[in-house]
């Protein structure tokens, strides 16, 4: 166990990415901080509109899902996974390059016990707040300003994880 944690730490020091960054930037070409990042903001705006318009950010939708009273969220996630899988398959099969003509990079995830323990903890919070991290931002945008407190608390939760990380089973 200790070796495993040392390995994790070693990666964090040597890699240009934060260790196990699950949403890494794999682009080789460097980007300006503001101008080239604005396109991700546009994508985020579209994404946020979908969240609100399909009522995915609704606390009730999450309740329906976990009470098995509606297939709505299962349908959303199911279709998203299928579309994502086909897209990834096509990118690999036809070796589609990024806009900067770079090869698309994929990472294999390694199992660790956080996939069980951390995932259950998140599940509890998801059902309670009615939001995963994405919808938190969209809920605030929709005028539920009190959710800012939830967001700050989620940031605090992430920070505490960073603090106690080496003492948790992985």
């Amino acid at each position: 166990m200790k070796n495993k944690i040392d390995n994790l730490n070693a990666t964090s020091l040597t890699s240009s990415h934060p260790v196990e960054c699950e949403a890494p930037n794999d682009q080789v070409a460097t980007e300006g901080l503001i101008a080239s990042n604005l396109k991700y903001m546009v994508l985020g705006i579209l994404f946020g509109i979908v969240f609100v318009k399909a009522e995915i950010i609704s606390w009730y939708r999450i309740q329906e899902m976990f009470r098995l009273h509606s297939i709505f969220m299962y349908g959303v996630i199911g279709i998203a996974v299928v579309v994502g899988m086909i897209s990834v398959w096509m990118i690999k099969r036809f070796q589609i390059k990024t806009l900067q003509k770079e090869k698309v990079i994929f990472h294999d995830k390694k199992f660790h016990w956080g996939n069980v323990i951390g995932a259950s903890i998140f599940g509890l919070g998801w059902a309670l707040t009615g939001a995963c991290p994405g919808p938190l931002f969209a809920q605030i945008g929709s005028g539920f300003l009190v959710v800012s407190v939830t967001l700050v608390s989620a940031i605090a939760g992430t920070w505490v994880y960073g603090l106690v990380r080496n003492r948790l089973p992985h």
């Binding site: 960054c21 318009k53 509606s70 996939n115 951390g118 995932a119 599940g123 991290p133 605090a156």
Partner: protein
């Protein structure tokens, strides 16, 4: 056209668009879909402390912060300009279950009996906002991702640890709604 957009969008439209976010991010700039990482970048940018987990070049990952800022703006746009004039439709059985727990199903996306500013400094607020948010932030990072990073991006790239995580997300959710939640509501209801 605007009439159609104003109606709640069906699950297959939403699911397809969310799924397309995966190739969109990959092809625009080799970026991997995952929202909870933004919380970590905020820590790294604002309060890294002396914690190695937050010592990295967050500016390289700043695209993620722009993405979540966009989600917030998208929430404003959709609510201000494209909102559905009709009350939200909630499954009859869920409505009944919630009423039994003293939660009124009202017209908005979120029940006002929980998500209102008046509850901020009450036990209800502490549980739903502070503890709930903490569980989300701590849990996602410990799990190594959330619904986007594991359930959508991870499953799209056939990562079995993501399948494990997704299953345990659901276990946690079911446990909250069916076991912990009734107890919480008896405490604060």
């Amino acid at each position: 056209m605007l009439e159609i957009i104003r109606q709640p969008w069906p699950w297959y439209v939403a699911g397809t668009l969310i799924g397309l976010t995966v190739p969109a991010l990959l092809l625009i700039g080799n970026k991997h879909f995952g929202v909870s990482s933004s919380l970590r970048h905020i820590c790294a940018a604002c309060i890294p402390g002396n914690i190695s987990f937050f010592k990295y070049d967050w500016k390289k990952e700043a695209w993620n912060l722009f993405f979540v800022a966009g989600i917030l703006v998208g929430g404003i746009v959709a609510t201000q300009f494209l909102s559905n004039p009709d009350p939200i439709v909630v499954a009859a059985e869920t409505t009944k279950d919630l009423q039994a727990l003293n939660i009124d199903v009202d017209h908005e996306l979120m029940p006002a009996s929980i998500f209102s500013v008046e509850n901020l400094f009450t036990l209800k607020g502490l549980i739903f906002f502070v503890i709930g948010g903490f569980l989300v932030g701590f849990g996602t990072r410990y799990a190594g991702g959330c619904t986007s990073g594991h359930a959508i991006m991870g499953l799209s790239t056939l990562q079995w640890p993501s399948l494990v995580a997704t299953c345990w997300f659901m276990v946690g959710g079911f446990a909250m709604v069916h076991v912990v939640f009734p107890w919480i509501m008896s405490l604060v209801g």
